[in-house]
């Protein structure tokens, strides 16, 4: 049985947790999900629609606000009771905060940030990136089950979630959390205006290169970014000219990104730029030069003048 530790905030399951269920469904038939927190009903109901055996809810005042200690103590007990072969968690900030401690308390290693899971008989192989995505490693765990792994956000598609024919049982589970066992005292989370844009977290990026020809033409790229719900980025020369700030630069001397969609406008594809974005899932390139190296790594290419093509795309998107 595979146990998926799902994450919720204010009653909603996050997409990454659904992706974790998808990952579990790919390597096993018997999947259970577990939720921790205070009021878990709405979140549990959502999970119960998936093709899983059951949704376990661990509801306790001590778990109402997330703490690392609370999660470790509770999950250690759940795992002892359920004896899963595999425990899968989404590689979110919250999971990173407690999962290694949980694994250590169980005396096991944990394989984090997996982009693939494969089953060969009784072995599971975990595939994870290393060296900032330049290399992929296949890993096996040398220990008895339970095996623990976290899956990279976006590596599995939530759309691929197998739905069940009818909602599965929601099973409340009791855990013992001793007084004073939780050492962290959290305050309420708050939002802060980000100082610098973090392109590494953008799902979609529109990047401009020399082909944009002038600072005044950036509007056209901004328009496309807006229509796509994307962040604006650039290759080196644009930032060197000061047309966009350095924190928008993608490449070996800027950021390395792997968004779902990367649209390269007027970018030739010099290796210094490519190393910063070739991990993107879908790459679209628009360039006048049919031999531009960017086309070698693109999924979709349009050879043409971006000043004609981009407005056409914007128009098509709003149709």
């Amino acid at each position: 049985m595979i146990l998926v530790v799902a994450e919720q905030r204010d009653g909603a399951i996050n997409k990454a947790s659904l992706e974790a269920v998808v990952a579990a469904q790919q390597v096993g038939d018997a999947v259970k999900a577990v939720l921790l927190g205070g009021d878990l009903e709405p979140a549990a109901a959502e999970l119960a629609r998936a093709r899983v055996e059951a949704v376990l809810t661990v509801s306790d005042p001590a778990l109402a606000a997330y703490t690392a200690d609370g999660h470790v103590i509770a999950l250690e007990q759940v795992i002892a009771a359920e004896s899963p072969e595999l425990v899968i968690l989404p590689h979110t900030y919250q999971t990173r905060d407690f999962a290694p401690a949980l694994a250590t308390r169980l005396g096991r290693p944990i394989v984090t940030d997996c982009v693939g899971l494969g089953r060969q008989g009784s072995t599971v192989t975990f595939t994870r990136p290393m060296f900032q995505g330049k290399v992929l490693a296949d890993v096996v765990i040398e220990a008895d089950p339970p095996w623990l792994a976290t899956v990279q956000v976006g590596a599995f598609k939530a759309e691929a979630l197998e739905q069940g024919s009818s909602p599965v049982p929601i099973v409340p589970v009791k855990v013992e959390i001793a007084d004073g066992a939780i050492r962290q005292r959290p305050e309420a989370p708050f939002r802060e205006a980000r100082q610098a844009v973090d392109l590494t977290r953008a799902d979609r990026i529109v990047a401009v290169g020399r082909g944009i020809k002038g600072e005044e033409h950036l509007e056209i790229a901004r328009g496309l970014a807006s229509a796509l719900g994307a962040e604006l980025a650039a290759s080196r020369p644009i930032c060197d000219n000061g047309w966009l700030p350095m924190d928008r630069q993608i490449g070996s001397s800027g950021q390395t990104v792997a968004p779902k969609l990367y649209v390269a406008l007027g970018i030739s594809g010099a290796i210094q730029h490519v190393v910063g974005m070739k991990g993107a899932k879908v790459i679209v390139a628009v360039n006048k030069d049919p031999e531009a190296p960017i086309f070698e790594i693109s999924d979709y290419g349009i050879v043409g003048d971006l000043f004609d093509v981009v407005p056409a795309i914007i128009k098509e998107l709003s149709a």
Binding site: G214, D240, M246, S252, S253, A270, I271, Q272
Partner: protein
């Protein structure tokens, strides 16, 4: 923030073979002769010893053996002993082997080495002997007391691209010493400052070449380790000095390169394109096909020989290694001379410090040591060879042959020579009424990105990295010249001779062009400082630590 100050007994600028040999020699003398322990400091601009240095290279181990007789036992990284030596003359399609390898190019008993690895190892030897090697510190300015050199000021760190001080800003440190050894390499910036201030220049102006080098991993069995090949002819024309090299290392790796004299006449000649053409020659193309480029680099070499060597000392200062032009361009070797001159400078410095006198009078003993050593014995007989090549390949070869027999004697001695950049001919004079477009390369090659590459891709393979937010370290004193005069007269040759695409002429938005400097591509080769026809380019070290990463080069 206050400027730090540090006092040492001997200051050495440059952690290459000359500087490290000097440091080790001083430490040895210290240990032999006892007395008050000397503080020896080496300043090296690279973040890591060996990161900024490269050479072909075939090492004559004689001076290494003098410095450290047990260098083999100490684990000196000698990649392969030379087993086979050959010289070819290339035409665009064919190759003609020289039936006999000319004596200067015979490498029996020599080793193919990675100079970068050798320097890493030498640094370890120096540090084990108590020398302080400060990596990531560039020598920015000589410190003078009158005309006496009293030390070096290192570069400021933490300066933004518009000159503003960033939060981590630190002013450069004044490192003071009674004697400073300048081992700052070819066209060293501190040596350049010294020669500008004091009348030390050699009899003839220094002449340089630009060397390109790539490391390739090849499919097994193509060439045996220890094979040394030198080429003449294609892709260079008779009016262009230089030649190619292929050195076979263990594990199916080769060093492949082209050396091009920085005294060519055609303003549209493109040295990087010439290197790509060498790789397209059937002999080379067949060798590297299916292989993988591992690393790329480029650096200038001082080729002028004996008469271009400056007076290598003044009050408080000595010059050794490539900074002084101690390179044998006929044998294509300079590492052993760097080590030897470093040792002699070290010995001179040691005595001066012990005697409490580092005046020019005392330091003149360095010149005497040089004159009585293998340095003069080797360089003097070939003193006119490079200048003879300026009259063409055939003349040069003929003279070289004669020089071997007459031990350098010739009717005109010195054979006259001029600075390389002065030989560059204007477009109108070279091409007459129909010059190529200003931005064209005469010998352009379309890269296939498998064996031939564009500059930008090559720079990626040099591992070059600089702090982005810093002022440009290529100082062009009057960029108006670039867009008004140079563009017409020479077609902005910097856009062609820079191996790293630092210089580009871009649209200025008003119908004309302006110079764009991509400083962070710079591989520190010094070609722009050397070749600029108007001599308005000063290469100064960027913020310490930045530059190429020449692992294995």
């Amino acid at each position: 923030m206050e400027r730090e100050s540090l006092d040492v007994d001997v200051l050495i600028v440059g952690g290459g073979p000359a500087g490290l040999a000097a440091a080790i020699r001083i430490a040895q003398l210290q240990s032999e002769r006892g007395g008050e322990p000397l503080s020896i400091a080496v300043l090296e601009k690279a973040r890591e010893p060996g990161a900024h240095i490269l050479s072909g290279a075939v090492l004559d181990p004689s001076s290494l053996g003098e410095l450290l007789p047990d260098f083999v036992e100490r684990g000196a990284p000698l990649a392969a002993e030379v087993r086979r030596d050959s010289v070819y003359f290339l035409t665009s399609r064919r190759r003609l082997r020289f039936p006999v390898t000319p004596p200067p190019l015979r490498n029996h008993g020599h080793y193919i080495v990675s100079l970068s690895r050798l320097v890493r190892w030498l640094t370890g030897q120096a540090e084990a002997a108590g020398v302080d090697v400060f990596a990531g510190f560039a020598g920015a300015e000589l410190l003078f007391d009158g005309n006496r050199v009293v030390g070096v000021r290192t570069g400021d760190r933490g300066v933004g691209r518009h000159g503003e001080h960033k939060p981590a800003f630190e002013p450069g440190v004044d490192v003071r010493a009674p004697v400073t050894l300048l081992c700052d390499g070819v066209r060293g910036n501190l040596t350049k400052q010294l020669l500008a201030r004091l009348p030390l220049e050699g009899r003839l102006p220094q002449v340089y070449a630009l060397g390109f080098k790539e490391l390739w991993d090849l499919p097994a069995g193509r060439v045996g380790a220890g094979t040394v090949v030198h080429t003449l002819g294609y892709p260079l024309r008779p009016e262009e000095f230089g030649g190619g090299f292929i050195y076979a290392l263990p594990d199916n790796r080769i060093a492949l390169g082209l050396v091009v004299g920085l005294d060519y006449r055609d303003p549209h000649f493109d040295p990087h394109a010439a290197f790509q053409r060498l790789k397209q020659h059937p002999m080379v193309a067949g060798l590297i096909e299916g292989g993988q480029l591992v690393k790329y680099g480029a650096k200038a070499l001082p080729e002028g020989g004996w008469y271009t060597i400056p007076t290598p000392y003044a009050d408080g200062v000595l010059i050794a290694g490539d900074a002084g032009g101690f390179l044998n361009s006929l044998r294509l070797k300079g590492i052993h001379l760097a080590i030897k001159t470093g040792m002699l400078a070290g010995e001179t410095a040691f005595e001066a410090v012990r005697a409490g006198d580092a005046s020019a009078g005392r330091l003149a003993a360095y010149r005497q040591r040089l004159d009585e050593s293998t340095v003069r014995r080797e360089l003097y007989p070939v003193r006119n060879v490079h200048q003879a090549f300026a009259s063409g390949l055939a003349t040069g070869l003929a003279y070289a042959g004669v020089a071997l027999l007459t031990r350098g004697w010739w009717f005109r001695d010195p054979w006259p020579g001029e600075a390389g950049h002065e030989r560059l001919v204007k477009r109108a004079d070279y091409y007459g009424s129909d010059p190529p477009p200003e931005d064209a390369s005469a010998n352009a090659v379309k890269p296939d990105r498998l064996t031939t590459f564009d500059r930008l891709t090559n720079v990626h393979y040099s591992g070059t990295r600089h702090e982005e937010d810093q002022p440009s370290h290529l100082i062009v004193h009057d960029t108006d010249i670039c867009r008004t005069r140079c563009i017409r007269e020479y077609g902005n040759p910097c856009t062609r001779y820079c191996p790293a695409q630092v210089y580009e002429m871009v649209d200025d938005g008003q119908g004309g062009k302006r110079l764009q400097i991509n400083a962070s591509n710079c591989v520190h080769c010094r070609t722009c400082d050397i070749m600029d026809p108007y001599q308005i380019v000063d290469w100064v070290p960027p913020e310490g630590g930045g530059g190429p990463q020449y692992e294995g080069m």
